[in-house]
């Protein structure tokens, strides 16, 4: 921005002195082949390492792992790490052990490791004594949000996957709570974590989450006051509606699910999403227009011509 009406000369000044960098080669990114459950604990662990200021050499000496192997671990390549290594890493990086263990275990089972492998990998570590509980603010956030997060997840997932997704989301939040607290809006940060966790467990088709199964779970469908004829007549329309909702852009999808499938007020949707009320109302208008354009409803038949 030009504060005087003369050309901006800041571009001709030398760039500010660069911040000191970690010696050695820069840590590569997480491999594309790493699945969502693995990323769930790997990303906060990497983030913790990158902000710690420590070098790979220093860390590898303390966790008793070769530098190259540590680099592989932090990129998600090579063999899935055993818990004893992750436990040592969590101690060095001051990460809370309990949520890290939950996510590590979930990812291990997800890639096909047996429970025996998980158990043998855990033997010898002192998991129980290091469970010191989440920060108080985390507990408060959980109290305020858990029930409503579950309602959202239930639209996409069966019951036990829904519980697991919400628990995983709060575990990730615990693990990255410092980052959450320093984010511009902790509600938005937490929502991002929940959404990513739910979507990672939701089957997708053509890049969109599958939602049509929820058409069988509406109050209208399950209520004893709904006649069988009404249920059969409405079900195809509901299925088309839910498919159309699933094709909405992400923000509009969330708003529509929260408002109409979960029944939250615009104010509560705004609280959960961490966006202004105006954004919720605007998103809802756009979503409704898109749903109308999706031609879910049969065309109106004209009356008799006189």
């Amino acid at each position: 921005m030009n504060t005087s009406d003369t050309p901006d000369t800041s571009a001709s000044r030398p760039a500010p002195e660069a911040a000191p960098v970690r010696p050695g080669r820069k840590l590569g990114p997480i491999a594309d082949t790493v699945g969502s459950p693995h990323r769930a604990w790997l990303e906060p662990t990497r983030s913790s390492y990158l902000t710690s200021g420590r070098t790979l050499s220093d860390l590898s000496a303390h966790v008793h792992l070769a530098k190259s192997k540590l680099s592989e671990l932090l990129r998600g390549v090579g063999h899935y790490p055993r818990w004893e290594v992750i436990h040592r890493l969590s101690t060095e990086l001051h990460l809370p052990t309990w949520p890290l263990y939950r996510l590590w275990k979930g990812a291990a089972l997800d890639i096909g490791k047996s429970r025996d492998w998980v158990q043998s990998s855990t033997d010898g570590t002192t998991l129980a004594t290091t469970h010191s509980g989440p920060p108080m603010e985390h507990g408060a956030l959980r109290t305020l949000l858990c029930k409503d997060y579950r309602r959202y997840a239930l639209a996409f997932l069966p019951d036990d996957a829904c519980e697991a997704a919400v628990e995983d989301a709060f575990a990730i939040l615990w693990l990255s709570f410092t980052e959450a607290l320093t984010s511009p809006d902790i509600r938005r940060y937490a929502w991002g974590v929940l959404r990513a966790t739910v979507m990672a467990k939701t089957p997708h088709r053509d890049g969109r989450p599958e939602l049509e199964a929820a058409a069988f779970d509406t109050v209208f469908a399950v209520s004893p006051r709904t006649s069988e004829d009404e249920r059969l007549a409405r079900l195809p329309l509901h299925t088309e509606l839910f498919i159309a909702i699933s094709k909405l852009p992400d923000a509009q999808l969330d708003i529509t699910v929260l408002r109409h499938l979960c029944g939250f007020t615009p104010e509560r949707a705004s609280d959960l999403l961490g966006v202004p009320l105006a954004t919720v109302l605007s998103g809802e208008r756009h979503a409704k227009r898109a749903l109308e354009d999706a031609a879910i409803l049969p065309p109106a038949t004209g009356g008799p011509v006189l």
Binding site: M1, N2, T3, S4, D5, P7, D8, T9, S10, A11, S12, A15, P16, A19, I111, G112, K113, S114, R115, L154, A155, P158, D159, A161, S183, P184, D185, M199, A200, T202, H204, G207, A213, A214, D217, T218, V219, F220, V222, L237, H238, F242, P249, D250, A251, Q252, H260, L261, G263, E267, S270, P276, L277, A278, T279, L281, S282, A290, D293, I296
Partner: protein
């Protein structure tokens, strides 16, 4: 006749399922050599539109005079051009709440760059229909000649270039150039970026029903104070490192033949 509203009204999900969706337990305790059934994961989001929007906002913010930014209609509502730039400043922060509505206001008042920002904004959100609509609006907001010429001078030799002068073409070129230029961010921009998100958040707490942010009666005064304070000191880069680019290009201090454009390129190069 069933309307969309009727359908949505009956779409409410039961808070708990009387019959579970799937009776197979989530985690089947099978041997390790039987992998879990694959779940098609969501595709990675395309961030190119968001990156382009950021680059365009950096350029617009850098090249707009402060006098345009300090112009307000009331003590809370900026002039359209000021709203365009304040929205761009917001976009550069980690919270862009309110940016969309300032751009809408500015576009409605005839600022084509705001319409183009909205195009990129909606594209970055995957809202393709809305993005296309704003893309069409960009040229409609302020119709410009479809072709024009630009005269470049090098060693006092003029060279005339004929080119597509539609605003969308110009903004597309600008956004492409912005990707490859690294400029230090000025201190005044950094101060605005520090102030704006809180001001906008307060505005939405005060007036949650209003789309346009209304940060309070001291908003215009505060913006002018920040801009005046910057004007009274040398314009120096902030302590923030330059925005990283794959191939940063900086103009050398001693340039023997800098090309000069004689044509003003829409709003962005107006001084």
């Amino acid at each position: 006749m069933t309307t969309l509203e009727d359908l949505l009204a009956t779409a409410l999900l039961a808070p708990s399922r009387p019959v579970p969706r799937d009776i197979v337990p989530l985690r089947d305790p099978a041997p390790a050599h039987q992998p879990a059934p694959p779940v098609t994961t969501p595709p990675a989001p395309d961030t190119s539109a968001a990156d382009d929007l950021r680059a365009l906002c950096e350029t617009l913010v850098t090249h707009t005079p402060a006098t345009a930014v300090s112009a307000f209609v009331t003590d809370q509502v900026p002039e359209p051009r000021s709203a365009l730039i304040l929205a761009c400043v917001l976009q550069l922060t980690d919270t862009d709440d309110g940016a969309r509505f300032w751009w809408q206001y500015a576009a409605g008042a005839g600022q084509p760059a705001a319409a183009y920002c909205l195009y990129l904004h909606h594209l970055s959100l995957g809202e393709h229909e809305t993005a296309r609509w704003w893309h069409r609006q960009t040229n409609n907001v302020q119709p410009t000649p479809t072709t024009s010429h630009t005269t470049l001078r090098c060693n006092n030799q003029p060279t005339v270039l004929h080119h597509d002068a539609s605003l969308t073409a110009i903004l597309r070129i600008l956004r492409g150039l912005a990707r490859h230029v690294t400029r230090p961010r000025s201190a005044v921009v950094t101060e605005l970026m520090d102030y704006m998100p809180t001001a906008v958040a307060i505005g939405y707490l005060r007036e949650p029903d209003m789309e346009l942010p209304l940060p309070g009666p001291g908003f215009a005064r505060r913006i002018r104070t920040l801009l005046d304070a910057a004007a009274s000191r040398p314009d120096s880069p902030s302590d923030l490192p330059a925005r990283p680019h794959p191939q940063p290009k900086t103009r050398p201090d001693n340039t023997s033949c800098p090309p000069r454009t004689r044509r003003q390129v829409g709003e962005t190069a107006t001084r």
